[in-house]
Amino acid sequence: MKTYPVLRIIEHSPTVKSFYFERMTDALPGQFVNVWLPGLDEKPFSVSALGDDWLEISVKAYGPFSSAMMELKPGDRVGIRGPFGHGFSLQNDALLVGGGIGIAPLHLLAQALSAQGLRFVSLLGATNKSELIFATDFERRSERCFFTTDDGSMGKKGLVTDDVLQIISDHRIRFVYAAGPEIMFVKLKELLDPLGIDYEFTLERYMKCGIGICGQCVLDGSGARVCVEGPVFNRQALKEVTDLGLPHRDASGRRK
């Protein structure tokens, strides 16, 4: 493990920030790095953007770790190792569905898709406007970009999944990417499976090693490791998963 100083911080909202580091590694869209706060803990975060000489992650404050990240100042050193896992495939005519901080991995995906000249539409939802991160960038890169917020402070009031079918038929969508809360995946599966549309979702599970040996992050049913075979899984792989949207294992391995 090596440590790197935080170079720059973007404050999207009091509870969502992006952190820039030197570009210590490549990463494919959907891959993640493990971030170590010395003395506290280490957790996985998706790479949200890559520049020529920088790497960005975006964090939403939930519990102790992500809240501690909100306290970071430029110059503070954090450990970073990775990239880990398998990322998204790059497809044409795609819809990107992001919920909350799930927008972060989709942002790197949007970068990659547009770099390849692939066509895509975005549909992003969050609690409120300030958490709709990278909104301008998505608008610039996507053929069309739709927003939803819980409070209606930007885009339509409601859930991201409300208009998915409509957008799919309006925009000749043949592939769906999604990142966000797992309940969203359950809903998307219900909507997409009857249509026979392929998709890739990026899953989260409690992780210890990030390198495929502890078994902490395995999915029920398939037994796939989110840190190695995932975090991105396609329709085929998700068919075998039996705990999607159900309570996950905590640090002890017990289901909550």
Partner: protein, 304 residues
């Protein structure tokens, strides 16, 4: 097929998933069997479960892994469910690895566990990560190890038990004999070595949240081979040789030293899940090359 008999079991392949690696859920262990393991071992568990240490808890360094997972586990009740689920899906034997914070707890967890009918109970008396919390590991004391062995044996009924030792303490040969004399049906050698520590020189702190962690992987192969060799001279019960195996050659060294089965843990990091298949095939090729028909024929040959 590299068939091998081990106690009352007949394994189709001599490789076993070591405890603590991918052994949390039935589905995960089933995948390991599909990748070629002849048997699997669960992560070590106790009665109540444990959260374990915060991350970083597993740290690869150039020559092995350092880990201080801290025996995180969901407790025996959850594990029983997973063992039953595994047995409903899979023919391969499953070994249940147990630990306790007290000698009595080893007994309690065994009493509850038997309901799940694992094929073997592996008794972990040697995890170096819990030293500071529970005092010296039981495996460092011949008296404690004897007592733990006896109590697990008492409650295990007709399920065989294997005691898992570390390379430290008062000598592997001596400890192996103690276990055999007190009822162990097999031995698992070895647990992690050290423990060790690595320090990040820029933030100037130990990297593992627990500061220290046990060393596993390629760095410890010679110590594991030596431990198996030494124990084999002292006991007649079979040995699951574990520690640093990443290639078929490593596994063959273990067998020549006296191992009946080969435990593989960290190797999954170095070679992926494919390691089981690769090692099995390499053992088979070796046997064929020299005209042997089973691993049993080469077991312990390095002693001659």
């Amino acid at each position: 097929m590299v068939n091998v008999s081990f106690l009352n079991l007949n394994l189709e392949r001599p490789t076993v998933l070591a405890s603590g690696i991918l052994g949390l859920t039935a589905d995960s262990m089933r995948r390991v069997v599909e990748s070629g393991a002849g048997a699997v071992t669960t992560k070590s568990f106790n009665t109540e479960g444990r959260k374990g240490h915060p991350n970083p808890s597993i740290l690869p360094f150039r020559h092995g892994l350092l880990n201080a997972v801290g025996l995180s586990n969901p407790g025996v009740a959850e594990v029983i469910k997973e063992i039953k689920k595994f047995k409903a899906q899979c023919e391969a034997p499953i070994f249940a690895s147990i630990f306790g914070r007290t000698i009595e707890e080893y007994g309690e967890v065994t009493q509850q566990l038997v309901e799940a009918s694992p094929d073997l109970i592996e008794v972990n008396v040697s995890c170096p990560n819990v030293r500071s919390e529970f005092g010296t590991p039981f495996g460092d004391s011949p008296q404690d190890t004897a007592k733990v062995t006896e109590i697990v044996k008492k409650y295990a009924g007709n399920i065989p038990i294997s005691v898992k030792l570390g390379p430290h303490g008062p000598g592997v040969g001596r400890m192996a004999k103690v276990c055999e004399d007190h009822g162990a049906d097999a031995l698992t050698l070895i647990n992690t070595v050290g423990p060790g520590m690595l320090i990040d020189i820029d933030v100037r702190k130990p990297i593992l949240s627990n500061k220290t962690g046990g060393v596993s992987g390629p760095a410890i192969l010679p110590i594991a081979v030596k431990s198996v060799f030494e124990a084999y001279e002292q006991v007649r019960i079979p040995i699951i040789g574990t520690g640093g195996v990443t290639t078929a050659e490593d596994a063959i060294q273990m067998i020549l030293a006296g191992a009946t089965l080969i435990g593989i843990g960290s190797g999954v990091y170095y070679q992926g899940m494919e390691i089981f298949r690769k090692v099995n095939r390499g053992i088979q090729d070796y046997l064929t090359k020299y005209g042997f028909t089973s691993p049993a024929e080469i077991r312990g040959l390095a002693h001659e």
